[in-house]
């Protein structure tokens, strides 16, 4: 009587009889045919897209003086190098050419030298807030 009651309380035993699902017993020395243990060859799915420089996709024009002036020192008018701007090869070259063109065509001010202390700018592209060069924040020669 008690057994029957207990059986009624466990209805799931009827739904999943033990015979249907058998635990696969695989022995290590018996390899399954057509299945290797090696990892599946595929491209790294977590690969990050390549980093883009600031001007990627922007058209550089010699008439766009505002854009060009961002890559020129406000104190001396020198064109900043790649280590300061952080641009890729192509865009750095385009910018340099455009700035030199703008100089010739009378759009931008030419470079001028001043014997004034200019703040040190090297290392800005990598995001460093303080420069680590020996002049400690100030360049004695105009840069």
């Amino acid at each position: 009587m008690a057994v029957r009651a207990v059986a009624a309380l466990r209805p799931w035993c009827r739904l999943a009889p033990a015979v249907l699902w058998e635990r696969p017993r695989r022995l290590q020395h018996e390899r399954q045919p057509g299945r290797s243990d090696q990892p599946i060859q595929m491209e790294n799915p977590y690969k990050e897209p390549p980093k883009k420089c600031v001007l990627c996709g922007i058209n550089v024009d010699y008439k766009n003086v505002q854009l060009l002036s961002q890559f020129v020192s406000p104190h001396t008018g020198c064109i900043y190098g790649r280590h300061i701007t952080g641009l890729c090869n192509k865009k750095q070259k385009e910018i340099t050419k455009a700035i030199k063109r703008a100089h010739v065509f009378g759009e931008t001010v030419l470079r001028f030298r001043k014997a004034v202390q200019t703040p040190c700018v090297s290392g800005m592209a990598s995001g460093a807030k303080e420069c680590r060069c020996s002049s400690k924040g100030l360049l004695l020669r105009a840069r």
């Binding site: 990627c56 192509k90 030419l110």
Partner: protein, 154 residues
């Protein structure tokens, strides 16, 4: 025919009172392009007939040599970034103009000579028309320094 851009800096003219343009309109009719007509009309009415005349003769010269003028833009009159000495005069202000044209490459040198002889033109420059390249920039591909080093060693 390749596309060129002619960047011109013209001498800044003294502003005179607005001239009655009835006499001058017939002269403009031969220019087929509406844009040119509009720009020149505006210059004329704003009291700068000399600038318009310079532009007109420049465009005429271009068309004579077989160029097709597409567009004429006025970038305004502003003070030059530095003093330019040209034709025995020191200029501080100039009118910036941009002529978009299609021309055979043989036109460039004779046109530069022609414009060099013009007293009212301060600076002239022929540039290949900057086609806006918005190609897919693939971004900065990190360089594999090891490979470079090993390859060079061999």
């Amino acid at each position: 025919m390749p596309r060129y851009e002619l960047a011109l800096i013209l001498k800044a003219m003294q502003r005179s009172a607005a001239i009655n343009g009835t006499k001058l309109f017939p002269l403009l009719f031969f220019l087929r392009d509406r844009l040119l007509q509009t720009t020149l009309c505006l210059l004329w009415s704003s009291g700068q007939p000399e600038t318009a005349a310079v532009l007109k003769r420049t465009v005429e010269a271009l068309m004579e040599r077989g160029a097709v003028v597409r567009n004429l833009e006025n970038l305004g009159e502003r003070s030059l970034p530095y003093k330019i000495s040209k034709h025995k005069e020191r200029h501080r202000r100039g009118g910036y103009f941009l002529i978009d044209l299609e021309a055979p490459p043989s036109i460039v040198s004779p046109m530069m000579d022609h414009l060099g002889r013009d007293i009212d033109v301060i600076r002239r420059a022929f540039i290949k028309h900057p086609v806006s390249k918005t190609e897919e920039c693939s971004g900065i591909i990190p360089v594999n320094y090891e490979d470079k080093l090993i390859a060079k060693k061999k």
